[in-house]
Symmetry: D4
């Protein structure tokens, strides 16, 4: 991520990776304040055995796109709604609107959790076990909703909304 102020958002990606037992590194690499570090990090990533990169940043968010330009690996970009952002539009557009030749797999504003899940899905394309875990995860989403609508239908909406 581009700044430690993004950590409260970005930690959700880490939590998903832990849940799926995917080893990962989590660090701060600023495109604007540590460009050399970003350069080295991105150039060396695939050689060091990294297979997917998740990059989150706010404002004029150049980290995901610059890493994507420097690495042949898939890069997942997380737009972060930072304090002086213009409602998050700056971050979304800076990450999403990459030119032809250099894609960034962009997820929703602040959606680090989804970035983690997308990384898992990418690894699942070549790993049966991970793919099965992803199927189970999707089932658990559906179970979570079932719990809610059963409760809602039993207690009625007036009781439910009080909780």
């Amino acid at each position: 991520m581009g700044s430690d102020s993004d950590l409260p958002v970005m930690k959700s990606a880490a939590e998903i990776l832990e849940h799926f037992e995917i080893p990962f590194e989590l660090t701060v690499v600023s495109a604007h304040r540590t460009p050399e570090r970003m350069f080295n990090f991105a150039k060396q990533a695939d050689g060091r055995g990294i297979r997917v990169i998740i990059a989150g940043a706010g404002g004029a968010a150049h980290l995901p796109g610059m890493v994507a330009s420097l690495s042949p690996l898939p890069v997942i970009g997380v737009p972060v709604k930072s304090s002086n952002s213009i409602d998050g539009w700056d971050s979304v557009l800076s990450i999403l609107q990459m030119p032809n030749g250099v894609p960034v797999a962009t997820v929703a504003l602040n959606a680090a959790k989804n970035a983690g899940l997308l990384a898992v899905q990418i690894l699942g394309t070549s790993d049966k076990n991970t793919l099965e875990k992803m199927k189970a995860y999707k089932l658990s989403l559906s179970e979570g909703v079932r719990f809610k609508y059963e409760k809602l239908e039993k207690t009625g909406y007036k009781e439910y909304v009080k909780d």
Copy 2:
């Protein structure tokens, strides 16, 4: 893709996959006009050996997100600027802003080429050969720019802009 009117945009993804010699299917699946077909397509994709899905759609573009909800595979979404779109914002936001649990790897407006490249990168995470081709592709991008700036520096901008 959601409509054959998206084909002039989406064919760039097919061209990239052909360039990288990745086998693919290309068809029309409309979330809104053929929901059953979409359902079956998405539910069966991973069982049929498909590893990555690229879904392009315009307006209130529900195809990428719905396919992502039905399949454990990574889904790449291409927002298409269709005729009655509000400047493309509708398509971008309908694809990007997915809820927690169901990511779509969104690329830029009309960026089907980047969707193809992202699919290649995803396959490259488990295939050395594809990864090497991606490195070569990135090199070719850089060579393409070199050709241009060398010409520009030689002819001067006044001549160059006439071409």
Copy 3:
């Protein structure tokens, strides 16, 4: 509705339907987390005697449009401003900008009350009694304003604003 987190907004629709003595069901159906349930719900709705569907959702809100694609009934969509929404624009555009052939009757952001009223109006097109109640409701709106302007004109704005 797509999530129980939409309930504080969506309950206003229920309250209106109770006020007009229209029987209704209220439950959670997530397009993205329970796609099969949504499918079955939407396909079976008209056969079960349901006449109008109100669907509320936030972010990339696909529920209203997907239900509309699966049912011949009129579907009223309520854009909900959820926590990581980009100011509600994502939800509004995902629901409103449906392609030709599959309309969603969209109401204002968070306007579940208006969704309830619109459902009543739709039922009123074939039920004199409901139509008369709607006329009475509109009269009550006007009376409510009269109470306010009479008070305002009597007390003066300086007193009124203190309350």
Copy 4:
């Protein structure tokens, strides 16, 4: 509709109603240039046996909302992208963002066809025959897509895109 310049857009609603054999009136009623006419039209509509009103307008589009305030009938609003519009946003927001108590069933920008279909669905809530026709219409949408994807899969995308 608010102006005869909206006719090229709004005629699609008329065509749908003719297709479904629903009798209708089509005229120009301007909220801003003929407010009395609008008043009378809206106040008398339900007494004259009209059951659904479709109102299309561009810019600061007040016609749908004002008609909705004056009539107990359901009002469908069609935002029209007129010449000096700010990308259609003015029309969309002026129609959609109605206050509590006075809903307008808003469809997509320029989506008069969908307004016609929504009117048919509303009438279908009390008319079996119309409901069946709507089911048939939805089937025809799906058949239309099938024709396209079968052709696409047979000819290949390179041939298809030439047509």
Copy 5:
């Protein structure tokens, strides 16, 4: 104004008119909940000796435009940022983007004070005394700034910002 909830904003217009000793009426007239009242108010205004109308409303704000369509008087519109507004854009565009033939003199979001000043300026076009007061008011604005920059220059910004 369209609702008593607009009063905390709109009272600033009243205060300005009191400051300039311009007689005025302040009341609630809802375009959507009391359309007949609005009709009568607007049609009779110039006959009753009213010379300028200030109309404030939020959301799909139709009051200023509808009053402008019904009266030959100049109408000043105040967009109000109401609770379920989409950041105020709905109100701004619903008031500003009036069609040719029916202008509304729109001021900034929530700028009821400026609406009052504009009304004073309009009356000042035919009243020397009011024009002179307006000149004095402008001078007082400039004096207010002088007080501030003199204090700032004397105390230094570090002290000033503490106050």
Copy 6:
């Protein structure tokens, strides 16, 4: 107006003033390229007997607001959608969002005609004759619509749309 490139838009204001037989001056005063001229123009306007100022400009449109800061007269601002504008938003917001104390009576994007009508309405607040002409003008708007809907109802929409 701020540039002669605004003339094709701004001439509509002149045409309205001629129609109402209001004497006027029309010239180019650029806030950014001729600031002294703008200063002198604005400072001297009321002394020279001018009663209302119409100022149109595009992009970062400072002319209306600066003239308003320098003159006690009412200033009508016309946002012009110029060539490198960002969809007209820059011009609209630069003119509309004036700070407290300095109003600009803003009309719709490119709505110079409405600026002319608003000027006429302002002069009509103290001139019975002008007020009566404005009433007649409003009647003519309504007659114009009548002509159209009568034709439409007689010929049917299919014939009408061919013209």
Copy 7:
């Protein structure tokens, strides 16, 4: 700056200039409330030995552009998100979208700190000492990030996020 309410934002520019030991003046000059003062300030600035002007303002922010039109010096504009701003867009567009011939060097919303740094960089184009200090400053940014990522990598993200 245009108002003393901008001081909490604009003081960051002053702090940067003090850090770099650049002498500066800080005062309030309102384009709209003190146009003469602004005129004189801008016209005399270069004659008084000022070399760079930083102008911050909110809403319809005319100060930076007007100063740029009156002075041959480089003008840095800081859009300030003021209380009744429409999310800061008004200020950003009023400062950024200057017409050809009159540039304003615009920085991010509320980015007074960056305005200060840009001023230092401009002075550094002719002052070796200042250029060296800027290099040192950039190094300190990078050191600041290093401190953070070393801590993060040592403590782990779960501990880090608690601080």
Copy 8:
């Protein structure tokens, strides 16, 4: 600039620099396709005697910000409205909304001419001759407007608009 497709826009900067007789280099440096080249270019610029950098790019425009992060020189950013841009917003926000510590002096969309002028003004802070030329340039802008308004006032707007 980031691509030779930006040249039709960016050449205006070159023309201004030629007009002011400022020596310059003009080349293509792509942040995304030639990141190493960009790195070297930016790191070496101040050592090679370059004093100001103008960087133009479209879409997710990272070039200006990345160059600014790598060089102590002032960097002027030109947002370019490229073909698949979302109305230019992506480019504007990617360049403007830089984080604290790394400013980019952003000019209006496509305003390469103003970028050239800003560069001249920056050089003029330490070069009397250039400053004088800038004053003369500003005078010529004002003369250009005088020519127009004199013609307009002489011929009348009806003749003028025909040309």
